[in-house]
Symmetry: D2
Subunit: 110 residues, 4 copies
């Protein structure tokens, strides 16, 4: 990217990685497994996490100073999503992407 | 909408109205007028406001409890955008849409 | 909206209405009912329809001449979603929103 | 990604790379340079290209068979954006991201 600071580019990468993982896991793994994987609370959290990651990346690309707030909220949702995926037990890829994104967003929101 | 509470539907309407107004005004009025209308700070704020409104509406439609946080951030950005559009002076439609959305989002985030 | 032609504003309204209906029905009705309502093919079609409607509205707001192409694709997905919702049998609100959007998008893509 | 075919993951990567490049270049390079860089036709094309790339990636992640159509439209917009950026002359990064995305999307839409 053009003049993007290195830390911000890392955070955009983490957000877009987590967005992809959550959306794809929801649309394949969760829909195919059924049961607790499509319990409304879990499924909506997966979709909310994907959307918030997409939005946080967008705010950094827009160079908006409000990216600090969207990153803070993104860190919170990602942490919650990581815990819920850990509880379900066969979603390691999602847990890792959410944890990595939460950590990166926490740094950007400081 | 299906089972959507009336207050939430009103807030979704206000968000999608503000999203439309900010995006369309930026792409027509601001690009055509030039000058202070395309100063990076103003223009990025218009784009950030449009994106945050779109995201807040999405969170309410997702039935995510995190809509309280996205609505709080949306109210803050809309208020800032309203002030900046008021300062520029020929963007009444945008000022009104941002104010209405900020008020509705503040109520939803309480 | 500012200088938006009347027919285009009607199409934006139809797209944003269909986006809301598909996303909210998927996140409430479909997740709660389960069974055929969360069959991957149906659920993904609902999500694809919501996203395409959101994107078509965005292209019209951007004043992009490519809105003719996004509207054409939107009409096709909406028609397919209407048929699939009709087949399931208790999704009248979604059928109607998809049909109305398909008709409006077909006119815009001509 | 989970079970994503290699070619599709490459196309998602190209789409998200082009989305980032177009949005960031518009919000920094174009707004700062002014002149022909913020001519409505050029600027709207940059924004339309960013949005279409974001949407095409989303359709592949949704596992929607309609990704063939969104990829076809994405290839067309990216090619047009590449040409317009080439004409302006100091936007090599954008030209390259658009060309790479257009080529990848053309393969996915075949």
């Amino acid at each position: 990217m053009h003049h993007m600071p290195k830390e911000m580019q890392s955070c955009i990468d983490a957000c877009l990685r987590c967005y992809q993982t959550c959306l794809e896991m929801a649309m394949t793994h969760c829909l195919h497994k059924g049961g607790k994987h499509i319990a409304p609370e879990h499924f909506r959290l997966m979709m909310a996490c994907a959307e918030m990651c997409r939005t946080s990346a967008h705010f950094m690309l827009l160079q908006s100073p409000h990216h600090k707030h969207t990153c803070r909220e993104c860190a919170e949702i990602c942490e919650e999503c990581a815990k819920d995926c850990e509880r379900l037990g066969d979603m390691d890829e999602c847990v890792q992407a959410c944890r990595a994104c939460a950590e990166s967003c926490r740094m950007m929101s400081a």
